[in-house]
């Protein structure tokens, strides 16, 4: 029972971890990433199409990451190069992904909103789950120990300092945003070819925003962020098990109350224990060299 609960928690949190770590790169570099949801969605689509074409989940997830990167590049063009308001551009990117995926489904498969199913032997069984935790470690080492990790941190905290140290701020931001797209794309891939068997319309169902919440919850650091994802996953897994359970032997608790549990927990935990979490100082501010 406990092992199943744990397994369930880990599964549910896998896409969140990928997306949240993706968000971490771009936000630590100073680019707020509301667009995670959209990048995930296009990633899920790309991975499904890629797997259908190549019959390999690995190549498929590469396609998903590619799709995420593509969308991230568009986001970067606006958020970095054209200095658009990042929240505006991010919101637009989400809409674009939401509209574009069914549109492409229609063109590719003449189906509105979903791709054909992917056979079980071409889907992932567990790989993304392990991969996500390896990635947590990699990100932790990356941010702490490598020059590019340091540059990313400074690009978000004090871009002028980074510029004065002779590093091109916007190049670092580009790098971070593209990584962000790749990881969010992988998060989407784990939805379509790991946790289910096809792409379907708006299948991210708000997970990009949950990832964002985990990122804030985890104070923009890889390990705490991953733990926050786990917490959300746990709340979800518990919620599933609580449905239909009756307290005090009487009627079961209305399902709606059970279903809002994870969200309630998040609010309470955030208000009670986490306190202030401070975003990277320059997050949201475009950098321009005069």
């Amino acid at each position: 029972m406990l092992a199943q609960l744990l397994a369930s928690t880990l599964r549910v949190s896998t896409p969140l971890i990928f997306a949240a770590l993706g968000g971490m790169f771009s936000e630590r570099a100073g680019v707020v990433n509301i667009a995670l949801e959209g990048m995930m969605l296009l990633g899920a689509f790309g991975a499904a199409v890629g797997t259908l074409v190549t019959h390999s989940p690995w190549l498929g997830s590469a396609c998903g990451m590619g799709a995420g990167i593509l969308l991230a590049a568009l986001y970067g063009l606006f958020a970095i190069r054209l200095r658009a308001n990042q929240i505006v551009a991010g919101t637009a990117i989400n809409m674009l992904a939401l509209g574009l995926t069914p549109f492409l489904c229609k063109i590719l498969y003449d189906v509105t909103g979903s791709t054909p199913p992917i056979p079980i032997d071409q889907r992932f069984r567990t790989a993304p789950l392990y991969l996500s935790w390896v990635l947590v470690l990699v990100c932790w080492v990356w941010m702490k120990r490598t020059p590019s990790g340091l540059w990313i941190s400074f690009a978000g905290e004090h871009p002028e300092a980074l510029n004065a140290a002779g590093i091109r701020v916007n190049r670092v931001r580009w790098l971070a945003v593209l990584i962000s797209g790749a990881l969010a794309g992988m998060g989407g891939a784990s939805l379509s070819i790991f946790l289910s068997s096809s792409f379907s319309r708006n299948m991210t169902a708000g997970r990009g925003f949950m990832a964002l919440a985990a990122l804030i919850f985890g104070k923009w650091k890889p390990v705490p962020t991953a733990i926050a994802c786990l917490l959300f996953g746990f709340a979800e897994a518990v919620q599933i098990r609580l449905q239909g359970v009756s307290l005090l032997g009487s009627k079961p608790i209305p399902v709606q109350f059970i279903q809002i549990l994870p969200y309630l927990v998040t609010i309470l935990v955030l208000a009670g224990f986490v306190g202030h979490s401070r975003a990277p100082k320059a997050a949201g501010t475009p950098f321009q060299r005069e």
Binding site: A84, G99, T266
Partner: protein, 352 residues
């Protein structure tokens, strides 16, 4: 002049890009544009539907904008409008005997109050507990959906329908619908929304409170040093934001459905973000942007009818591209840069 021209050009650019997408899909952009125009403005009824969609977008756009001015990002308009609509419906269903002049006023106040409370929660949490409003408003959207569907399904269920919806409100609650739109549910909610926009403008730019809201949004330390209680202002701003979003319930419940239907909103709350941003958080801009998005929403609904490959999804694509091109502040200076003769070209790096 430039200020006005820029967004118009940007909207045009966005539409052009979007229509280019339709061309890729094998439809003539010109044809699609004409369908959109006809779908949104073709008849009194069509225009009425456009206005019907515009109304909630004005409210949610204002909601997002007021929060923005206080430096807060309100992703929670969706939840706020849900509880607002439910409150109006509950009042109307429970005290169904109430009659005309009083009844709608009570219901409007109920919607306002419910939205206000739903906005106050993340406002309070941000101001006093320091937790981020982006997360809390997202969570509250889900919670609102859960609670309202419980009320609609178990407490106030409509016995005459399989729809997840509440009992109908009393006849005294229904507000005036304009006849000139051929039956489209354009109600008194539209003038109410325009009035709200005017009031928000007055509040923000003509009152001390509005100035304090903007000051907190601009720089919390400066506002604090000037003796403004930033926490209090944030709570007030979120209350206002929530109340404005809650008023969406007026048009939907009192002016259209006559009850609360679970899931009635096609994400007005999220489109409201786009409306606020496109309208540059200015009430007048929001009115214009809401009309644009209302028209896109209505216009694209007809695409299915008239084309082979282009579906309603184009609506989202168009909206997204319009927002993107409007958002690109740097686009103009970039284009200028391109035209300017380049002085010592720097690309090569050190040339010693």
């Amino acid at each position: 002049m430039r200020k006005l021209l820029q967004p118009i050009l940007a909207v045009a650019l966005g539409l052009a890009l979007g229509l280019a997408v339709t061309w890729i899909a094998g439809e003539s952009p010109w044809h699609v544009l004409k369908i959109l125009e006809k779908g949104a403005f073709g008849s009194g009824y069509d225009f009425g539907m456009t206005l019907f969609y515009t109304t909630p977008l004005i409210f949610t756009g204002l909601s997002v904008a007021v929060a923005f001015h206080a430096g807060l990002f309100n992703i929670g308009a969706e939840g706020q409008l849900t509880v607002g609509a439910l409150a109006a419906a509950v009042v109307g269903a429970v005290w169904s005997g109430l009659s005309a002049p009083l009844a709608p006023v009570v219901a409007v106040l109920a919607a306002l109050l419910a939205g206000t409370i739903w906005g106050a929660i993340p406002g309070w949490l941000r101001a006093r507990r320091g937790s981020h409003e982006v997360i809390n408003t997202i969570m509250l959207n889900f919670i609102a959906a859960g609670l309202t569907s419980y009320v609609a399904l178990y407490l106030l269920k409509n016995p005459d329908s399989q729809n997840p919806e509440t009992r109908p409100i009393g006849p005294g609650y229904l507000i005036h619908q304009f006849g000139i739109f051929g039956g489209a549910p354009v109600s008194a909610a539209l003038p109410l929304a325009i009035l709200a926009a005017a009031l928000v403008w007055v509040l923000l730019w003509r009152t001390s409170l509005g100035f304090e809201i903007r000051a907190v949004g601009q720089s919390e330390p400066a506002a604090r040093a000037a003796g403004i209680d930033a926490g209090r202002i944030r709570i007030i701003a979120m209350c206002l934001a929530g109340g404005l979003a809650g008023l969406v319930g007026v048009g939907e419940v009192l002016g259209n459905a006559g009850k609360f239907k679970v899931g009635f909103s096609p994400e007005f709350g999220f489109i409201g973000i786009a409306v606020a941003l496109l309208g540059r958080n200015q009430p007048a801009g929001i009115l214009a942007a809401a009309l644009l998005f209302g028209a896109l929403h209505k216009g694209t609904a007809d695409l299915d009818f008239e084309t082979e490959h282009v579906t309603r999804e184009l609506s989202l694509i168009l909206q997204a591209l319009v927002i993107l091109s409007v958002s690109a502040d740097g686009l103009w200076s970039w284009m200028k840069e391109r035209r300017r003769p380049v002085i010592p070209e720097t690309a090569g790096g050190v040339t010693c």
